[in-house]
Structures are given as structure tokens and as C-alpha cells.
């Protein structure tokens, strides 16, 4: 075991008491942080289940939507599609809330995407194609997926950052700070005992010389 310890410490009883106090605190902190890390990792795994395949799902969904959009552009012309898009009414309502996972604030999306009928969308029928309707409904569909994906990915990133720093702190405490404190405590205890013995021997010697002088 590497005998690393805190430099420049006087081997006194005062210091010993202080160090013991610090060691107690470090051990307590270590176990708390370890608990935090475990809880975070558990949460992380829960989220991982949700992320599975959701990016692919978004990509597939969007691909279909883009295909329909292109078809509509071919049928109606670029400008007409753009015009129709301009006149579509707003249909997405999102509300971002947050929740705290062991002190990490992660977003929670509360969204409301209305599935609308063709009439409700707001563009005219005269100069629009069926493909435009398809494209619009597919984009509406993907929107929900995209927002969910965003929420999950954001949560994962935030949790990951927190897990990393917690891990580092746990390891630092476990492998560096606590052993260092323990070593220093041991060193001081040994020094104090040594001084005790020295003193004892010194007293014995003095007593001996004194009794010899009397005789």
C-alpha cells in the first residue's frame, strides 16, 4: 500500500482529533455519493430502455413525410406548396416542465399535437394535391416522435454528465482522500506512541542515575 499522506502535519493530539473528524466525514460523504451514483445509474438504465430504436423510428417516419412532400412539390409546384404551408394553422402546443432526478434537472415535455382533419388545416382545396394532405399528416405524426426523442436524448446527456462527475468524486474519495487520511492518522498515532516510549525510557534513565548518585 502506498503510504501517501497529508504533508506538513504536526504529530499532535489536536491534529489527530481533527483528522479523525475529517476521516469520519469523508467516509460518510463517500457512502452518500455512492448511493447517489447508484440511483443515477438506475435512472439511466430506465431511460435507455426508452431510447431504443426511437431515433430510427423518427428517421423512418420523416423519410416518408419528405417523400410525400416532394411528391406534392412535383404535383403543385414549389411555390404553391410554400404558400399552402404558410396558411396552415398552428397545431403544436408544448409545455416544458422539469423534474429532478437526484438533483439533476431534466426536462419533461407535455405536448399536445392535434390531429387535424383536412378542413382544419387551413389551406384551400382548389389548388392543392392529395399528396400535400399526406405530407402534412405525416409531419404531424413525426412531430410527436421528435419531441419525445428530444426529451429522452436531453435527459440521457444530462444524466450522463452527472454520473461521470459523481463517479469521479466517489473514486477520488475512495482511492485517494480516505486512504490518505487513514495513513496520516496512523502516522500520528505511531509518532505519539513513540514519543510516549521515549519519555518512559528517559524517566527510567533519570531515575536510575538519580538512585546511583544517592548511593
Amino acid at each position: 500500500m502506498a503510504q501517501e499522506m497529508i504533508e506538513g502535519i504536526n504529530p499532535t493530539r489536536m491534529e489527530l482529533l481533527k483528522l479523525k473528524q475529517r476521516e469520519k466525514l469523508a467516509v460518510k460523504g463517500h457512502s452518500l455519493l455512492k448511493e447517489k451514483r447508484n440511483a443515477l445509474i438506475m435512472e439511466f438504465f430506465n431511460i435507455l430502455d426508452r431510447v431504443k430504436g426511437s431515433r430510427e423510428k423518427v428517421a423512418d417516419n420523416l423519410k416518408e413525410a419528405y417523400d410525400d412532400l416532394t411528391a406534392a412539390q412535383i404535383a403543385m409546384g414549389d411555390l404553391a406548396v410554400k404558400k399552402a404551408a404558410m396558411s396552415v394553422k398552428k397545431s403544436v402546443d408544448i409545455d416544458v416542465d422539469s423534474r429532478s432526478v437526484m438533483g439533476v434537472v431534466v426536462p419533461v415535455m407535455d405536448y399536445d399535437i392535434r390531429k387535424r382533419t383536412i378542413v382544419e388545416r387551413g389551406y384551400g382545396f382548389m389548388d392543392t394535391s392529395v399528396k400535400l394532405d399526406d405530407a402534412a399528416s405525416k409531419f404531424e405524426e413525426s412531430m410527436a416522435l421528435i419531441i419525445e426523442l428530444g426529451e429522452i436524448e436531453k435527459t440521457i446527456t444530462l444524466l450522463a454528465v452527472e454520473i461521470e462527475s459523481t463517479k469521479r468524486r466517489v473514486n477520488a474519495l475512495e482511492h485517494i482522500i480516505i486512504p490518505r487520511l487513514q495513513n496520516t492518522v496512523k502516522y500520528i498515532e505511531m509518532r505519539l506512541e513513540e514519543m510516549d516510549r521515549e519519555n518512559f525510557v528517559r524517566l527510567k534513565m533519570i531515575k536510575k542515575t538519580m538512585s546511583e548518585g544517592e548511593a
Partner: protein, 106 residues
Amino acid sequence: MTSKIAVIADQDTVTGFMLGGIKEGYPVENTEEAGAKLEDLVREDYSVIITTEKIGDELREKIVTLTSERALPMIIEIPDKTGSIERETDPLRELIKRVIGVEMVK
């Protein structure tokens, strides 16, 4: 309170999302424009910003400084009309690997 959502992307993607019901679409031509718009939107407290993977790759640094360690804004990158970019390493997967220490099957 309803949160604000916007799209920064190429013209076609913006058109598509406007059809889908997002009213605030900002078509951009190049990276500088996208970067400037992104900063504007973040300043105006938009909570969700949808952009394309291409723009995301070009503005990676800016996005990281704007979003990491904060819950909002949420910048979501989606594939554009040409399909998703084939990446050698999925950044999210890398992250998971680094945190857990082993490769997770995704």
C-alpha cells in the same frame, strides 16, 4: 405557460414542418446564418429548436456550449430530405459507453 418551438433548417424541411403545424420556421441558406439565428432563438428563450443533422454537425461547438448542463433549450437534430448522415460513431452511444463502461446494445 406554453413553450416556444421553432425550426431552423433548409427551405424544404421548414416547409414540411410548417405543414405539420409549427408556425415559426426559419429557412437558412448557410452555416453562418444558421448560427446567428440559433443564437437569436436561444436568447429569446425558445425551449425547443428543431434543426437538421447537417446544421448540427457544422455548429457542433456552438450547440454544445449553448445546451450542455442546462435543461433548456433543447436542440433536436433530425435527418433532412437526403436522409440521415451515416456516422461512424453515434455520439449518444459513445456517451453511454463512457458512462457505463461497457457497450450497451441499442
